[in-house]
Amino acid sequence: MISGAEIMVECLKNENVEVAFGYPGAAICPFLDYLYLSSIKDILVREEQNAAHEASGYARASGKPGICIATSGPGATNLITGIATAYMDSIPLIAITGQVNSELLGRDVFQEADITGACEPFTKHSYLVKDAADLPRIFKEAFHIATTGRPGPVLIDVPIDVQKSEIEKFIYPEKISIIGYKPRTVGHAMQIKKALSAIENAKRPIIVCGGGVVLSGARKELLAFAKNSGIPVVSTMMGIGVIPMDSKLYLGMIGMHGHENANRAMSEADLIVLCGARVGDRAVSAPKQVAEKATIVHIDIDPAEIGKNMTAHIPIVGDIRLVLRDFSEKVKNTVSKEWIQTVLTYKDEYIPSGTPDNSSGCIEPRSFIRSLSAMMEENAILTADVGQNQIWSARNFNVKEGRFFTSGGLGTMGYALPAAIGAKIAKPHRQVLCICGDGSFQMAMCELSTIRQNDVNIKIIVMQNDRLGMVKEIQDKIYGSRFAMTALNGNPDFVKLSQAYAIESALAKSNTQAEKLAEKMLNSNKPFILVCRVNPDTPTI
């Protein structure tokens, strides 16, 4: 005989799960008891939302689904923001929650919450398990759904009596049969042909690299397509890292906070190849106007994204990696020299903002991020939070062979620190740097003890301007500088705070000092928090 709890652990083992992030509670205890006995590493977080974010950072760095665990009721509801964050950025997660006894479901008993119902809008799929015998099939399906097609979080809610109940024998299914789920991976040959001929006839084509390229592992294919076609490339925030910023024909990030020259080039293009980009409002603010001027070739694995935010003249549903492989093999370099000259002139005209002033008592964050970027190893992973720090990072950090993780879709503050923890646990030999503001750092700083407990060697930069800078900037521009709720008075001494956790820390008040301390930070084999004093009036762009 085997219990539901043991089956759950056996399923995870069958899926080669190595790490799980979570927080305990009575309703998940039977499962945790077996997890404890297994070789799967368990990471205790300090608040459930961070379990989902850490699992997300782990998933993005490892390419495997991230596992997060919480108990019923508040444990499960605390996961929601993390699950929603993963959903918006298409990150594969398996969220496992305990649930009250199935016979008591719906009676509002202690720590009961309808988590499958609450997560409905934020999960790719969810299961409320009623019978332990269904667990192997459900786990098998959940991993399949989370990782195939357009990836996303899947929730498995398991009542405590199901965890405790026993069945005869555990057999992990080999095959999956979900009749309503068969994602299309191969692009339609006719559409590809049509797209290629449109590309060849275009005078001012441009490639937009979105997060789908990263998710599909299509970096090589995109680079080959760009090289063989000679078409310049711009990126959305989620697509950062696919092409090194110093590549000749890479023009930078588009969008509201993007590089001016990238936006300019895109607005003048007569053909746009959207690669795994969902045309979010921050990336393309006026999709209608863009589609009126240019022919849109839209490649996405999720058919629902094509035509949702922008008209697609040539839609291609399929795995971006396979489609781009086809593109790169068949495309001809027909781009006009004039167009290349134009976009390169725009690129030359772009001057990165921010000049350090060592006498100001503050660091200049944009130029500091550029220096920091040059100091990092080629394959470093950067996690950026949300707010000014995110834009400073996205615009100024040169991701070479490394990665850039941020909460692009939901814009969840407090994401960077836990995501960095997850990334470091997945890739212990790579440098992992987290850049956050003093606002976002305080949303996640309870995880400093997770860092301490597990010796997670991540480097944290806290940009301290004692303000919620991005909102403050909006208030400056639109709300007559009435700073409602944006002054972070009462901030702790972050260096002392780090000391309380026995994490090495330092305060930088000038770029020269910050660069020296960053060198020390990067040479240390322990976690490090570098607090940077920033002028509250430093702009985002």
């Binding site: 499958t116 409905e120 009749i179 309503g180 058919p303 629902a304 035509g307």
Partner: protein, 166 residues
């Protein structure tokens, strides 16, 4: 414009809430919705009438298709399907008026399913237009209650909406 969709889903608990939740959260307007099992008891059919334009109905279809338990979505082509809806109408009726009301019932091809000293209950199966006509004709007598089911639709000829065809 109104569009009729025939949606095949797995016959499991919670599927209807996934489908109806999607409509409210994506801002689609449902005119009517009817669910029932099909010739295969593991599969249910949801017939949905949506009010919107071409963009909306395309989005509805694509978003529905993303739900894992949704097996097939078909937007029925205008003029190529038969649709009907069922109504139960309870109308005030004393012995004096009974004859008049029964005339209306006969003219409209409705059916009397319950008779009581002060009321008549009618069953009516037709399209929305005829149902509205019947209601208008009965109004002067005093309608006590109307119970209407969602629209059901089936394609004309031998065409079907099954899990395999496209």
């Amino acid at each position: 414009m109104k569009y009729t969709l025939s949606v095949l889903v797995e016959n499991r608990p919670g599927v209807l809430s996934k489908v109806s939740g999607l409509f409210s959260r994506r801002g689609f307007n449902i005119d009517s919705l009817a669910v029932g099992i099909t010739e295969d008891s593991s599969i249910s059919r949801i017939t949905i009438v949506v009010d919107g334009d071409e963009y909306i109905v395309e989005q509805v279809g694509k978003q529905l298709n993303k739900l894992i338990p949704v097996i097939k979505v078909k937007v029925l082509e205008p003029g190529k399907f038969i649709s009907c809806e069922l109504s139960l109408i309870k109308v005030n009726c004393n012995s004096e008026k009974r004859g008049e009301i029964m005339k209306v019932v006969e003219l409209m091809h409705a059916e009397i399913v319950d008779v009581a000293p002060a009321s008549l209950t009618l069953q009516f199966t037709s399209d929305d237009e005829h149902t509205q006509t019947l209601i208008r004709l009965l109004k002067p007598y005093g309608i006590k209650e109307i119970v209407r089911a969602g629209t059901l639709a089936i394609e004309k000829g031998s065409a079907t909406t099954k899990k395999q065809n496209s």
